[in-house]
């Protein structure tokens, strides 16, 4: 397949190249050629800069070739969590994946994240994902009456849960987890990350309520340390480590 030829022209100092995106499509209302709900692959050819992100390429397609292509996005720089998708068979944010970091000699595969119901093209129903997040009671449960000024916390105590505060709820981790794919019963790594953020916060007193929930059938014990979550997390959160720390807390009673 000769999807790409490096065109020798330079534009603003950046090489222009031909890329092919092969996108998994699904239109709930059907199109001329496809029944409602049927999914199919469609190829688009376009000209792009090496420094473009996959999101730029999707925009180019939507804006110049096929306006019906549906996907979510907002911030375009990896902080809002809208555009997790499976790109070349791995979960990533479209806005954080540069075309030059993918093999441009082959078509770039783009499909929705797996394990949540597909609504249209790359858009999935995020509700089950957020429902798991809400289940772990993701809010501070402080002890005692609020002090007049701030609750004190040392830099070391603050550092203890820093990693998991970075989560942007993009679902890249949960939908990369092979255990989550099996039956969707598993809360998934994100919910554990969400709980970890509070369990290890020195100001929080709701640890045992959350640990109880994570001790459930659908909780941490379902994790088989496959590490797909950690590898997929666009925020670089050590997800498996957070899960492991929860298991340890459950086993030893120490936080």
């Amino acid at each position: 397949m000769t999807a790409v030829e490096e065109v020798p022209t330079e534009l603003g100092g950046v090489a222009v190249m031909q890329v092919t995106l092969r996108i998994k499509r699904m239109n709930p209302e059907g199109t001329g050629d496809h029944a409602p709900g049927e999914d199919y692959w469609e190829e688009f050819h376009l000209e792009a800069h090496a420094t473009d992100r996959v999101l730029d390429a999707l925009h180019k397609i939507k804006w110049e070739q096929d306006g019906t292509l549906a996907f979510r996005r907002s911030c375009a720089h990896g902080v809002c969590g809208s555009d997790a998708m499976r790109i070349n068979a791995r979960n990533r944010l479209a806005c954080k994946t540069l075309l030059k970091d993918l093999n441009p000699a082959k078509p770039i595969l783009v499909e929705p994240i797996v394990g949540l119901p597909v609504e249209k093209d790359l858009i999935v129903d995020m509700e089950p994902f957020f429902a798991s997040y809400r289940k772990i009671m993701p809010f501070l449960m402080p002890a005692g009456p609020a002090p007049e000024r701030e609750r004190l916390q040392t830099p070391a105590q603050r550092e203890r849960f820093d990693d998991t505060t970075k989560c942007i709820l993009c679902a890249a981790c949960t939908t990369a987890c092979p255990v989550f794919w099996t039956d969707g019963q598993y809360f998934g790594p994100q919910a554990i990350v969400g709980a970890h953020r509070f369990i290890f916060d020195s100001r929080d007193e709701g640890q045992w309520d959350r640990l109880e929930i994570l001790n459930d059938t659908a909780g941490v014990w379902k994790c088989r340390t496959a590490f797909n979550c950690t590898e997929a997390c666009p925020r670089g959160i050590e997800v498996t480590k957070a899960i492991s720390e929860i298991k340890h807390a459950l086993n030893t009673g120490e936080i």
Partner: protein, 149 residues
């Protein structure tokens, strides 16, 4: 620990953490470590020492189990491997069975199979007679000849 202040009541979860999953998770790891020792010694003895696979026959087994160490070794291997395997398989059931009913059915089946195998195996190991009456002497371990006298 003070009760959390909540604007609306949440399900109370103040009871003790249920230990089942946790216990099995730990068991899986502890049994794993022990199994490494038990299993590799077993394999080494049977497949590498002496004539390897070819040596295995009634006489070989009987000779081995004449020693109480190997008897207990086999027993520990049996129990730990079966429990470990059972729990491992029930992880798969939990992952792949779609409904609660199938899950319950398959787990029951697993439990039953494990029980049968463990009981059967235990009986065999401990009621086993290395020199059964009337058996062809050439098939028996050499020490039977002396016992018979």
């Amino acid at each position: 620990m003070a009760a959390p202040e909540l604007s609306h009541p949440l399900p109370s979860t103040r009871k003790r953490l249920t230990p089942a999953h946790r216990w099995w998770w730990k068991f899986q790891r502890i049994s794993g470590v022990v199994l490494v020792v038990l299993l590799f010694a077993h394999l080494f003895y049977n497949l590498v020492l002496g004539d390897g696979v070819n040596q295995i026959d009634f006489a070989f087994v009987a000779g081995k189990w004449a020693a109480p160490l190997w008897k207990w070794w086999a027993f520990a291997l049996l129990v730990l491997a079966m429990l470990h395997g059972m729990n491992g398989m029930s992880y798969l059931v939990g992952d792949y069975a779609r409904s609660q009913r199938t899950r319950r059915f398959l787990n029951a089946l697993l439990g039953a199979a494990t029980a049968v195998i463990v009981v059967l195996g235990t009986l065999v190991i401990f009621t086993f007679d290395p020199c059964p009456q009337g058996a062809d002497a050439s098939l028996l371990p050499s020490f039977c000849a002396e016992v018979g006298k």
